[in-house]
Assembly symmetry: C3
Homo-oligomer: 353 residues x 3
């Protein structure tokens, strides 16, 4: 039976076994009130033993409840209770929500927030301190706007989307339902577009919008520019980590994952389900096919076919890159061998004269 303690749930070993469908061993009344990694789990902790690499920690653990891979059941260890369960890491992830402290949500509009008279506000909307919501904005049911965020004119935000603190949303941005925008991100600014006129760089007006479809998550301190003529679009369910830059007119498909510090230059397209490692850079006007994977720090200057894994700088198919890298590090020895052969050849030719 779940019990509340310090704002989080405590669970007995018996309840945990039932929740994950595992087999209980030891004290079913053992109570887990928080979660910790195996090497730091003390009394009151729930933890996991999922790899024999960590058996020395399991041997001495003081944890109250340990989720144990059945394949590791023979390793010695005496937690107060253990629950044998396949893929114990996954089981732990599913249990985490029970232990997560609920972040308190202030209701309504804070008196210091500045909200234009013509803003449409659904039920259950939160607008925190010092937020600024400009003219003709529509915030659907359950939207949560964090402290200090600025929502530009004519922006639309779908239900249950959370905009954290210090976010800038430019004019005419459209954001779907259940999105999350982390602190400090800048969504819908005019992009980096200039033309030369009379020897000077002159700004191209940016008439396009920035559109985030349902379930999109944007990490902290990202910059997502709006389009010049076309829109910038991030497809449903796509997740961006911290400090990702998406330039004007870029189109990202559905369910893409972009790790931190990725940069995508103007007008490039990612089809659905692409996965980009950290610090990947894409040149402009490229197409990355559906389900393609780009290794961390890849510098991509050409199209990538669907389903392929590329890496390197400039990026190539991952295996080709690994082979070339391996060969490169044999090269100094090869050069030495060839020079020696050349020298011996010359000597031999001299001798044979």
């Amino acid at each position: 039976v779940p019990r509340r303690g310090e704002g989080t749930t405590a669970l007995t070993a018996a309840a945990i076994a039932e929740l994950v469908g595992g087999t209980l061993e030891g004290d079913g009344a053992a109570l887990a009130a928080h979660v910790a990694p195996l090497d730091r789990a003390g009394p009151g902790a729930l933890t996991v033993f999922g790899s024999s690499r960590y058996r020395q920690w399991y041997a001495v653990t003081q944890a109250s409840v340990v989720l144990v891979d059945p394949a590791l059941a023979a390793h010695p260890g005496r937690p107060r209770a253990r629950v044998l369960v396949e893929r114990p890491q996954d089981a732990l992830v599913d249990l985490l929500a029970h232990f997560a402290p609920v972040e308190p949500r202030p209701m309504g509009i804070h008196p210091t927030a500045i909200v234009a008279a013509d803003v449409t506000i659904g039920s259950g909307v939160t607008i925190e301190a010092f937020a600024v919501v400009q003219s003709d904005v529509a915030l659907a049911e359950g939207v949560w706007v964090g402290a200090h965020s600025v929502i530009g004119s004519q922006v639309r935000i779908g239900r249950d989307t959370r905009v954290h603190d210090h976010v800038s949303i430019g004019p005419r941005v459209e954001i779907g339902e259940r999105c999350v925008i982390h602190p400090g991100s800048r969504i819908g600014r005019e992009g980096f577009g200039f033309v030369e006129r009379g020897g000077k760089a002159v700004r191209i007006p940016h008439l396009g919008r920035c559109v985030l479809e349902d379930g999109v998550e944007i990490g902290p301190n990202c910059t997502i520019d709006r389009g010049s003529i076309d829109d910038t679009v991030i497809g449903a369910g796509s997740k961006l980590d911290a400090m990702v830059h998406v330039a004007h007119n870029v189109r990202i498909g559905r369910a893409c994952m972009l790790a931190a510090q990725v940069g995508i230059a103007g007008s490039s397209r990612l089809e659905d389900g692409c996965v980009l490692g950290g610090q990947v850079g894409l040149a402009g006007h490229l197409t990355i096919g559906a389900g393609a994977k780009l290794g961390a720090k890849a510098g991509v200057f050409g199209d990538v076919p669907a389903g392929e894994t590329w890496s390197g700088y400039p990026a190539r198919p991952h295996r080709e890159f690994l082979r070339a890298q391996a060969a490169m590090f044999k090269l100094p020895q090869l050069l030495r061998t060839l020079e020696e052969q050349d020298a011996q050849g010359k000597t031999r030719r001299k001798e044979s004269r």
Copy 2:
């Protein structure tokens, strides 16, 4: 004759032909109220047909007005009106300003802004909600300070410069006329300078300033440090994209273009007219000659002569880099061939004994 509609201008095909100096064909009264790319341009749209790659879109377009390259005039397509004009993309760019919605500018100082008593404020200055302007600042005519921005003491900002929202301007920064600072940028913070004293890293005081000359543009979420002894300077007309980092004592010349996520380490110099691709990194104390170009993601560890194009990591002249890369990807095959020759050679030598 231009007509106003929903805050933007609508233009007839005849007016467009006149504005761009092109040849009108079809219905001169066809009205364009917005701009769209060819594949998404419907009735009421102005669009462009500038490459035969897009002829299938042109064939079926419902756009009201299409700017068409005369070289492509023979391709089939029946927009309501078309305007034949050389370099139609450029013509479109010049027309965009007619369709750009004017961002409403609140006038005066918002009552929630905090402005020190000794601040000098020119005519037509805007200071938005929750901005903080500290002691002894001077804001020239037409300066626009966005919501939540913090302007440090003794800062000078030239006429018609716009500082967007959530910007931090450190003490004693000097900003010229007609500059734009996008949201979330941090200008004039003390740089990353430490000395070791007694085994600890101790901060070096930063006495220098950060100076942005006229017409500089700084993208969102950039960090431009002030100098330690010397100043950090960004020359007139230079444009920086999002998340660019400029360390202390760096000097950037006039009319340079720096793409997103570039990083420049301390005391490096860019002469006039340099162009840096996205994610380029420069080590400290380098000189990049006038007009040099650095390819995206280049890692530069040495000086680059004026006018040259370099790329790679570590960066080399671009052609040399391309040749070496091409050779590298032939290397695995070469190694295999040499190993086979070696093996055959040994066999032959054995046989000949």
Copy 3:
């Protein structure tokens, strides 16, 4: 005897000689009121002559006081006074504090700040305009919270720590004494962790904390995520430059230095005293041994032993990387030679038939 002028100290050459333990030559009453690099140092300036590369500037300097390396004493030059001192650059650094303008610190809590009723506030705490301090926070003696910063619930901040403006501190973050957080950094947000459930990416709750030990400095616009199960920890005295990303569960040891735009993926560990150049990227779950150095822009995909210097992408020991790079740029010539030999060989074999 030091004298105050315009909020900074002016020092005579005699006082400077005494402070740095150097030998005075020339006018001991010459007064230095500011510091400048040798090529821009005019009357009233203190500057340094530490390398013969700059002798042409020394020859014509108008500076009032120059710190001169005794080894360069013979070079011609006539400043009003000079002070001969070993390692004059270090001596200058130690003098800088005398010339640094003191940034004015407002005392107490600004009336616009929003501070929850149950916040614990030590003596001498500053909370600037529009800051938000949420429930159950503890701010020790001398803490300085900048304008617009948001301090989440249950955060603890140690004495004399400065949080600059526009910073977001997430819930339950622990910050030690004498730390500095520069503007726009996001500390303690939930990290980028998702599991697939029913074909969708579902967030993993982040129960861990983010802990900054004493004397940590975080540059502007950084993102430091909190842990999922474990904590994210940055060890005492470590310094991070601008736009550094530290993912969930990362542990950084003591006295590490991370240059700008570094990114560290989840669960990686840096032992004490590591030095990372700009734009370095680390994959997840790695261990970087104590005192290891990673060259700028290195892409690290494996563990690095203590004390070693690695660079490249993928990173290798620095010397191996340099040798391989050098060989790579000889490769095009090598391939040509081998092809010619091959062609000659074929010709010879043909001839010998």
